[in-house]
Symmetry: C2
Subunit: 332 residues, 2 copies
DNA sequence: TTGTATGCGTTATCAT
DNA sequence: ATGATAACGCATACAA
């Protein structure tokens, strides 16, 4: 049988409550008894049954996270950062994958709520189709959205300041001599697609860059390849192509190269996110890095705030990204 | 207050035990009462408190997993597969990141055990430094190693058949006309480094390929770049370079390209694992794909077997990989 | 400061 | 087949 707190108490010659208090530090315990208890605990190799504790305290020390797809190269870094941020306060991450399906996502959200997680960090699959399920769980457990958010639900959100990211990119492109730029990004189904599109025009204008009509498709390498063809069909290429994320940018590079256009020699290309492979690509991608650690910390902070403060107006926290200049915009 | 099974029982006009049995199906319950109970449960929106259930049944329905580093591009696909395999039986994955540190890993293993996970799936950070902690938790909960294993611990393992993978690669290289090949891989600190090295010679011999002295460093793009230089310094390049994993292969490609050597035109290059970026790289990497879904299923199966059967001789399951031919070995 | 007794929500045991 | 009751391991209200 496992060693329980009863065994510890017995061995230390105290009551169970004293043992509990001595170990948790919830209430003061005499110095001698404290040492007796801790000694007994160590001697017996006692380790708390977190389940029983959670049942009693209503706190599991676990936080649930649902990502659209963990194999999507953007999320592992985020998961890692959140796992790390949580472990700072002794909590653990219960990770679920939504398989890009709002229905699966809904099941996962409920399952996590049933396991009494202390909070839920969610990157919703869809801006609209995920809304109901998210609102439902939010009624029973604190929820923070990360990266993406759903429309029509007043929930906290933490992500990157897309407008600021695009300003960084525009500034850099202007610095290296670009005059004409075009955006290749995702449409407005996702919240990030919308805000990146909205941020692009003003950012370009601020740095006196001439823009052409944006090409909007979806986040993915295939769309980037296709967009490169569309762009060439349009006429002379711009000086620079701004990808809505790294995958699109990589697709653009590949599409261009297949047509004999060299990057960065003939055209500059930038990405967004700094997903793992951006540095591995050839040419390595100039991109905007999301501050994973800060995003993670903010998520955790909002979660704790929600637990403490109860109902509040939803907070939306957009953190500043940083520019990472690599070979795709560096002419030798 | 949350709705508990008491509420359901009351509304259905039965005892709590009957309600429990009707809902769980543990013991037969009269048809009428069953319908009354399920109706009441649905009407009240009852959802079981998994914690309380777990405390009683000693089964949490969660499986812990510890990976060396989730941002390492090999692991997300594995995590996804395991998450999926588990969800088939209604279980969930508690994911931890060891931050490449055996000490952190040890803490995570204990934390998961304290949370009463039903099983543990671990890709150990180090073949030697991870052994003690792994053996310790294995004493209290079923453990299955995946991908890598520790020496000196009799624990189940599921992974890929490295020798078979290298035979696939050698066969393919022979098919496309290569005569001389060299291995660039990791040393023998990791179990995979050891077995891939061991499998290379026989695989090459089987297909009448001439081999040169292998270059052994570590899994990582930097080593690949450096190895490319070492290889060029050695004299004329071989027809093909076999990377110990995809990162090394990518580094080799980059190192060669920096020196003006073209892939695949001048030299063929292969990887191992089919990590996410292998398909995204340029040129896309010919590699050996690990059967993630099968590996995941086997992990789960062994876990369940261990729960059921108690102590057994450790099982080591090496699954057959498949060859993925891409541009890095395809001359146009 | 310490001990006693109760309950968290559920399932298992033992009756009937 | 059904119900009363105890117990899982822990933390806390209350009493001393």
């Amino acid at each position: 049988m496992r060693v329980t707190i009863r065994d510890v108490a017995q061995r230390a010659g105290v009551s169970v409550s004293t043992a509990s208090r001595a170990l948790s530090g919830a209430r003061p315990v005499g110095t001698e008894l404290t040492t007796r208890v801790t000694a007994a605990a160590r001697a017996l190799g006692y380790r708390q049954n977190r389940l029983a504790s959670a049942l009693r305290t209503q706190r599991t020390g676990t936080v649930g996270m649902v990502v659209p797809q963990i194999s999507n190269p953007f999320f592992p870094a985020l998961v890692e950062a959140i796992e790390r941020s949580l472990s700072g306060s002794g909590r653990q991450l219960l990770l679920c994958d939504a398989q890009r399906d709002p229905a699966v996502e809904a099941v996962r959200l409920q399952a996590l709520a049933d396991r009494q997680v202390d909070g839920l960090i969610v990157a919703p699959v869809s801006a609209v189709a995920s809304a109901d399920a998210l609102a439902a769980v939010a009624a029973e457990v604190p929820v923070v959205q990360v990266d993406r958010y759903v429309t029509d639900a007043d929930l906290d959100w933490v992500g990157v300041d897309d407008a600021a990211g695009l300003r960084l990119i525009a500034g850099h492109l202007a610095d290296v001599g670009a005059r004409t730029v075009v955006l290749v990004s995702a449409g407005s189904e996702s919240s990030t697609g919308r805000s990146r599109l909205a941020g692009f025009g003003p950012a370009a204008a601020r740095h006196r860059l001439t823009t052409a009509e944006p090409l909007l498709g979806e986040y993915g390498i295939d769309w980037g390849v296709r967009a490169a063809d569309l762009l060439r069909a349009r006429g002379p290429l711009p000086d620079a192509i701004v990808g809505g994320n790294d995958e699109i940018a990589l697709g653009v590079v590949r599409g261009l190269r297949a047509a004999g256009v060299r990057v960065p020699d003939d055209v500059l290309v930038t990405g967004f996110d700094d997903a793992g492979f951006a540095a591995l690509a050839d040419p390595a991608l100039t991109t905007v890095r999301q501050p994973h650690a800060l995003i993670a910390d903010e998520c955790v902070r909002l979660l704790d705030l929600a637990r403490a403060g109860g109902e509040q107006a939803p907070r939306r926290i957009a953190l500043a990204p940083t520019l990472v200049v690599r070979a795709s915009t560096t002419r030798s």
